[in-house]
């Protein structure tokens, strides 16, 4: 027969276990920038196609950009660190747009174009901005942290993922250069992904 004291202890133990499981959940959410395990890594995998609207209402698919190196940046107007990268991406777009490269910015703003359009205009963003949705969020593994940037090679495979600002402008430029230079290799071995050095 369990004494009232031990029953109470058991109840607290149950609470402890429930509490721990809740804590684990919050820790997982809090460490969104943690590196994925090897099995979860999206590197080498085909970048999921999507159909998202741009500011003019045109539907844009990732597959429209097949054959190009794409920098797919998930961002938001309220994201401070994203402000650092946006001028870099504008520079990359300008520098590489005629060399088989494009930046696509996917805004995760809940307020939609009412929030995003003024921001694009204020900053004169020169690359294509799309409005994200739950589907693209889910298909790209759940975008908890912004910015999250995927570098996609010419064959449509993910070559690098950067969560938060973890690379400087020159390092990102080097990655783009590597992927653009991999053109011939990709063509020679159809389907082989290009992977940037040190990609996660």
């Amino acid at each position: 027969m369990r004494s009232p004291g031990s029953a109470l202890s058991f109840a607290f133990l149950c609470l402890l276990l429930v509490g721990c499981s809740r804590t684990s959940t919050s820790v997982k959410a809090a460490s969104a920038a943690d590196e994925p395990s090897a099995n979860d890594s999206p590197i080498h995998k085909p970048a999921p196609d999507f159909a998202l609207k741009d500011r003019d209402g045109a539907t844009v698919h990732l597959s429209d950009y097949k054959g190009k190196v794409v920098m797919l940046d998930f961002w938001a107007t309220w994201c401070g660190p994203c402000k650092i990268e946006i001028p870099w991406f504008m520079e990359f777009e300008q520098q590489y747009k005629d060399k088989g490269f494009a930046v696509l910015g996917v805004s995760m703003d809940e307020g939609g174009w009412d929030d995003v359009k003024p921001y694009i205009e204020e900053r004169k963003i020169n690359y294509r901005i799309l409005l994200g949705d739950e589907k693209v969020d889910h298909e790209y593994g759940g975008i908890d942290s912004l910015p999250t940037t995927f570098l996609i090679d010419r064959s449509g495979k993910i070559a690098a993922v950067h969560v938060g600002i973890e690379k400087g402008k020159n390092e990102l430029r080097d990655e783009i250069d590597q992927l653009l230079a991999a053109k011939d290799v990709t063509n020679a071995r159809a389907g082989d992904p290009a992977v940037v050095a040190g990609a996660k």
Binding site: F12, T25, A30, T77, G80, S145, L146
Partner: protein
């Protein structure tokens, strides 16, 4: 004894990098005015925007209540200004531990007996190199109305 000591933290509501301690049950009468403080804890290294960020694009800390009580006021503490690498002007934020106080009035027609006021604390957190998407923490205030 250990379990008793850690019980409050076990019942804390958490979402992402922000945790809210459980509120004490309020035993009140119709017509009473009373206040309740929410103890908030932000994970070290992160900040959340204040209730009145100076940049129009930033998402403010916001507390809303539903239930049988009338909300008289919600008082946020004085925020701190921090400099970040990504913002020319300092950001107006909360870090670490802080309290949010809500002043309630029990309406004359509030129902007798046990009840609940349900709060939702919406926040948006960042550190120096990333931002987390806006999240909401539920805050429950148990009531005994006489």
């Amino acid at each position: 004894m250990l379990a008793l000591a850690i019980l409050p933290s076990l019942l804390a509501q958490s979402s992402g990098v922000l945790t809210v301690a459980p509120l004490e049950k309020a035993r009140v009468k119709r017509g009473d005015e009373f206040s309740s403080k929410i103890a908030v804890q932000v994970k070290p290294g992160f900040h959340v925007n204040s209730n009145a960020p100076e940049d129009e694009y930033l998402i403010p800390l916001k507390l809303t209540w539903s239930g049988p009580l009338q909300v008289e006021s919600i008082d946020f503490p004085k925020a701190e200004k921090i400099k970040t690498p990504f913002q020319e002007k300092p950001l107006v934020v909360y870090t670490g531990a802080f309290d949010i106080e809500t002043k309630f009035k029990v309406p004359a027609n509030a129902p007798d007996g046990p009840n609940m006021a349900s709060g939702k604390l919406r926040y948006q957190a960042c550190n120096d190199h990333e931002c987390l998407r806006p999240q909401t923490v539920d805050v429950n205030l148990s009531l005994e109305i006489r």
